[in-house]
């Protein structure tokens, strides 16, 4: 069983929901990332989502755009990110890691070379924002052959037909983007999330994660009650940015939020 399915199965047994924090790898500097990953796991994260910096992050709001720019000042590449995963794995072989990014760095590395390197580093899944299932067939097959789950986004605009397609081609979990917009936008509407998640569940048995617009413990708890995973991105990256000068404070602030969310979700 893959780390992702093991993790989701164990959480289900305990009646808990996965908490998935997102950070951009190499933000604000490469030396921070691996320690922060370990700290987030200790604070209650079940799965880690690691952003691969890209020069043109079209689906991101200002917070994660700025994180990409900070990481790119240090020339953090896809290969560097895989190096960080490898380093993390030396101490933690259990927590699943999902890479989130854009297709072009993977195209340039080459699909097979990427899948081989990601598998060797210990990556469990990928979310490539600008690679819909219609264009992703070749890469997805290569990833699956290396036991890496291609994870797809579902949106408020996704029709039943698309849900069906995505749930069939994706694995690991599906990630419901709770609002029309970029990352870090306004608060989500919990009621509409409930409806959509139920609609998605009618198409698939794989876990359903929800993200975009979850910035506090209360919202996290509400979303946790109706989904299998809560993804928190901009709220965390904002804390990284605010404490960029002091790695210790980054960890304190980020882990404080994660612990509060974890507590509210488990209550």
């Amino acid at each position: 069983m893959s780390r992702l399915s093991t993790t989701f199965a164990a959480l289900k047994t305990d009646g808990r929901t996965a908490l998935i924090p997102f950070i951009t790898a190499g933000d604000p500097q490469p030396s921070v990332t691996v320690n922060l990953m370990h700290d987030m796991v200790k604070a209650g994260a079940n799965i880690l989502e690691l952003g691969v910096p890209f020069s043109d992050p079209m689906a991101e709001g200002p917070v994660i755009q700025a994180a990409c720019e900070r990481a790119l000042e240090h020339h953090v590449s896809l290969r560097d990110v895989l190096g960080m995963v490898k380093e993390f794995r030396q101490q933690d072989n259990k927590t699943p890691i999902v890479l989130m990014g854009y297709l072009n760095p993977v195209e340039v590395m080459g699909y097979q070379a990427f899948a081989d390197a990601a598998s060797e580093a210990g990556v469990d899944g990928t979310i490539l924002v600008d690679l819909p299932p219609e264009e992703g067939g070749e890469l997805d097959a290569i990833l699956k052959s290396k036991d890496i789950d291609p994870i797809f986004l579902l949106a408020p605009t996704s029709t039943d037909e698309r849900m069906e397609l995505i749930c069939k081609q994706g694995s690991g979990f599906v990630y419901y983007v709770s609002l029309k917009g970029v990352t870090g936008a306004a608060h989500l509407d919990v009621q509409s999330v409930v409806e959509k998640v139920n609609q998605i569940r009618s198409h698939t048995d794989i876990p359903v994660g929800v993200g975009f617009g979850i910035s506090d413990a209360e919202t996290a708890a509400k979303v946790a009650a109706v989904s299998d995973a809560v993804v928190v991105g901009s709220a965390i990256v904002k804390r990284v940015a605010e404490n960029a000068h002091d790695p210790k404070k980054i960890s304190e602030q980020v882990c404080g939020l994660i612990a509060a969310m974890r507590q509210a979700m488990d209550a």
Partner: protein
Amino acid sequence: MSKTECKDYYAMPDDRGHFGIYGGKFVAETLMEPIEELRQAYEKVKVDPGFQAQFDKDLADYVGRPSPLYHAERWSRELGGAQIYLKREDLNHTGAHKINNTIGQGLLAKFMGKTRVIAETGAGQHGVATATVAARFGMECIVYMGEEDVKRQAPNVYRMKLLGAKVVPVTSGSRTLKDALNEAMRDWVTNIDNTFYIIGTVAGPHPYPAMVRDFQTIIGREARRQIMEQAGRLPDALVACVGGGSNAIGLFHPFLADEDVAIYGVEGGGDGIASGRHAAPLCAGEPGVLHGNRTYLMEDKDGQIIETHSISAGLDYPGVGPEHAWLKDCGRASYVAITDKEALEAFHIVTRTEGIIPALESSHALAYGAKLAKTMDKDQIIIVNLSGRGDKDINTIADIEGISL
């Protein structure tokens, strides 16, 4: 890709929006359904006689088409080679070819019931053309423009404001056209219910490259008819500048099956290809994925998009329309680069010789046209697309030449 596949130039894109390995739909999930709705709406109007009649009427009465095909006799004589004919897109309403496309997409937006249009712009020509149709159709209009471009194209910024558009300076990334496109995409994904994104070039996710091309092929269809009337035969060569490549594909497309007509796309060579400071992905880039399509890109070894440089804001873009990428690989069109310096020279020569002030973008095509003409015989013919007029560039040129206006 087999050579036979390249022979049927009019079979592209396929129904998934691919030109060989290029093109496609590389967008976030939220946009997949909206671009599908757009594709369906476009397929509908494409065969709707009422829509096409309205489009043709607007092109005639509002844009002022057909634009003339002008034999630049004096310049041709001075060059001493082939006869150069200029396709005068600079004489269109708003001063460039961009309006052909914004009329088409504006009508489509209206057809789809959208009340708000957004656009990205580099030189400002597409922004002005979008603001123009928005004013005419009574639609809210937001134009995203890189902060750098806002500075170097001040007259166009003011024009857009006069037309009632809101111009949003984009301060992320390299603050030029590519970043304006990113920002427009972000707006679109947030406001998809009421918003139509009028992309200004033959790039972006399917159906944009095909749709924008179809709206621009009026250029080539007219030119083909006009050269037959004036010279009694097809030209030997076509030349057009390529940023995203909409004026170029508009001229080239109706001639693709005429294998004896040589086709040249001219990219922004900046300080020269060897300097690395240029905007010539077809000459010196690699295939990759950006802004919804696979195409040639200016990128580094890690797949990050790199900053481009061109004296012309309209050519300052790290990608290019996917059909050009495909035509390059097929060998049907050749892509070359002209440096800032060469473009400036051509700008002055054409201004002084023919009394036509060309846009800096078009000056790249003129510069290559002149080079090419000198290698050809006097009875040969080149059509150069004079895609826009240069009024918007006079501040830039005065600056470079140390003149204060």
